[in-house]
Amino acid sequence: MERTLRDWRAITIFVGPALLLFIVILVIPIVWSLGYTLTEGSVIAGFHFVGLSNYARLFQDSAFWSALWFSVKYAALVSAGQVFFGLMLALLYSFYLKRSSVLVRTLVFLPVVLPTVAVAQLFVKLFAITPQYGFLNSFLHAVHLDALVQPWLGQGGSAFWVIVLMDVWKAMGLYAVLLYTGLMDIPEDTLEAARLDGAHGWKLTQFIILPLLTPVIVTSLIFSLNGTLKVFDSVLALTGGGPGTSTTPLTLYMYKTSFSYSQYGYGSTIAVALTLLCLIVSLIIIRRSRED
């Protein structure tokens, strides 16, 4: 084996094709995209070199900062929600429902496999006000709380919380299953020993389960944060980034800039900023988990 790994011909044959494919479909487009950040123009009118002016523009663009703030706020809340509720569900499956958890697991996992557009349509109907009240407004009306009836998706503040709720609900099943497998890996005799030492309930969770589950929680957080920082489909399907630009994340701003405003250079610059953000967040989490 060791001899094979020292053999350059073997390396070329085994790794070469995959490496070539990786370079062609990933590295070159990334470098190409980086090149676009130094240009201005369109595919019809042509591109011209503008140096670092797109990067300078980024710092002065209030719409960029607003989209960045939305992305960060949304990612923090949704990731926390997805992993927290996923963990709660995993503990529920493991310690309370045990063998009878299959049905609950299936039900909670169901939204994960549903198309985002379908889930968004469901939420649009739940929170509708016109032409008919959706479920929530109907309920509020039925219990005589008409003052609370409102266009949940037609106002920036409430629309944000509806998106958060939808995406936590949609993905918590995935993290519940992921964390459940982590819980299954904790040896039963370790738990039994802790119980004999008097650790039950929250103490057992705090001192035994959570420390042993940390690698899976960290992995879940990295997955979740990277997914939520790149949120696009659920926002587009639910609010289209509105009302106004109040629910516009960086991805949607990048898309609009590139494809609606035909500013490919600046759009690529926003994409680079988003890539850096994802990288920084992942590095911070990994470093913190190593320190722990």
Binding site: A128, V149, P151, L153, P243, Y261
Partner: protein, 419 residues
């Protein structure tokens, strides 16, 4: 088997291939944001298939693109010189780029060369030229006026008349609202129905050439008249005169609210006539619908004889495919288009009509009468804006009507976006 007999089965195949290649030689494709059975796209499709019967080489194909993806699609097609023969293009700046790169035809030259320039309505031509730097680069598939359509029965029952001033309009809206009737239907989800009101108010305040003056830089969007316009529209939203959740109301719902008698007025272009003339949707009856122009505003220089006009979604012809075959197709389709659109759909177009149908829908006749009385036409609010400025105008209009942004901030953001 001799060589001669062996070649025999090949001959039909070769001739079929030849026929196929001839058929593929000059297909005419129309890229449209409309469904195939809607409006101008339906009429063009029917005429193209009629032409195809006698000219099989001019095979007609229809392609659809959602309006949200249109600009992106056009750019990708243009970059590879693959634009179809006829295509919608919804951004004036992109249309200009396509014209400069030789991918959008000069239709004045084309129609004159074909000897059918007289089929075009001069008013529609002037409108298109005004929008496109003096060039006729799009087809006037529609000729629309915009105004407030109102429910006559509701107005009569409440003792109201067509308002002539903005103050009277607000007074009417107040009266209707007090009786629990929603004054206006509007699609905040589409956004542009809200900015149309700002544009109309500004045209009354400064005159019909207001947006041309903004383009020329002699007027700024932060000038008091524009802020007043934004405030006037914001007040309607704050008073809930567009109904609950205006920003979640889509186009069809807004039209249905009006056609079901749930709202007394709707500001819309005359393209909406096809919905009004649909008996299945129109529950209030065409005879119960009236139209009045954007009312005058206090201290305004604009006239109520000026109307907001447009020629529908811009439709260009690909100059790279603009040869004799396409010329024949254009000649066939567009010498018949005006008559057919009016007769079949009650559509008023920018093409001359030589045979007026006997039983025109009442609302089509009403629109024609209003069109005849137009003194000056003005374009919609964002007609001269870049895609980015259009987006700033429409997106922020949603925040304006909910009171989440001040009229001053709205206009400042828009003025900044024009730079």
């Amino acid at each position: 088997m001799t060589k001669r007999t062996a070649a025999l089965p090949v001959l039909p195949i070769l001739s079929a291939l030849l026929a196929l290649s001839t058929a593929l030689a000059a297909p005419v494709t129309f890229l449209s944001v409309q469904n195939e059975d809607q409006g101008a796209t339906k009429i063009i499709g029917e005429l193209a298939r009629e032409y195809q019967k006698t000219n099989p080489a001019a095979a007609y194909t229809y392609q659809n693109s959602p309006q949200t993806d249109l600009a992106q699609k056009l750019q990708l097609l243009a970059a590879s010189s693959s634009l179809p023969a006829v295509y919608n293009v919804d951004q004036p700046a992109l249309l200009d780029q396509l014209y400069r790169s030789g991918q959008a035809a000069d239709l004045e030259a084309t129609f004159k060369k074909l000897g059918i320039y007289n089929t075009l309505n001069p008013a529609a031509v002037a409108l298109i030229k005004r929008q496109n730097g003096g060039k006729l680069v799009t087809l006037p598939l529609e000729l629309n006026i915009e105004g407030f359509w109102y429910n006559k029965a509701i107005f009569t029952a409440n003792g109201l008349k067509e308002p002539r001033t903005w103050a009277e309009l607000i007074k009417d809206a107040d009266a209707l609202n007090a009786k629990g009737i929603q004054p206006f239907a509007a699609s905040g989800d589409q956004k542009w129905p809200l900015t149309r009101l700002i544009g109309g108010y500004a045209a009354r305040k400064y005159g019909y050439d207001v947006m041309d003056r903004v383009k020329a830089g002699t007027l700024k969007l932060t000038d008091p008249g524009f802020v007043e316009a934004a405030k006037a529209v914001q007040d309607l939203g704050k008073k809930n005169y567009f109904g609950k959740g205006v920003n979640t109301v889509d186009y069809a719902t807004a039209v249905d609210q009006f056609l079901q008698g749930k709202a007394a007025m709707i500001y819309m272009g005359s393209w909406v006539l096809s919905d009004f003339n649909d008996a299945a949707r129109n529950k209030i009856g065409t005879q119960n619908i009236g139209l009045f122009n954007f009312p005058a505003v206090t201290g305004g220089k604009g006239s109520t004889n000026d109307w907001s006009l447009n020629t529908g979604i811009s439709t260009a012809v690909n100059q790279k495919l603009n040869d004799a075959d396409l010329g024949n197709w254009i000649k066939y389709v567009f010498t018949r288009y005006g008559n057919k659109a009016l007769a079949e759909s009650g559509m008023i177009t920018g093409f001359t009509v030589t045979q007026t149908p006997k039983n025109l829908p009442v609302l089509t006749s009403l629109t024609q009468a209003k069109l005849r009385a137009v003194k000056n036409g003005y374009l919609w609010f964002e007609a001269n804006f870049s895609p980015k400025a259009t987006s700033v105008a429409t997106d922020n209009a949603q925040l304006l009507v909910t009171g989440d942004i001040t009229p001053q901030d709205y206009m400042s953001k828009l003025q900044d976006a024009l730079k």
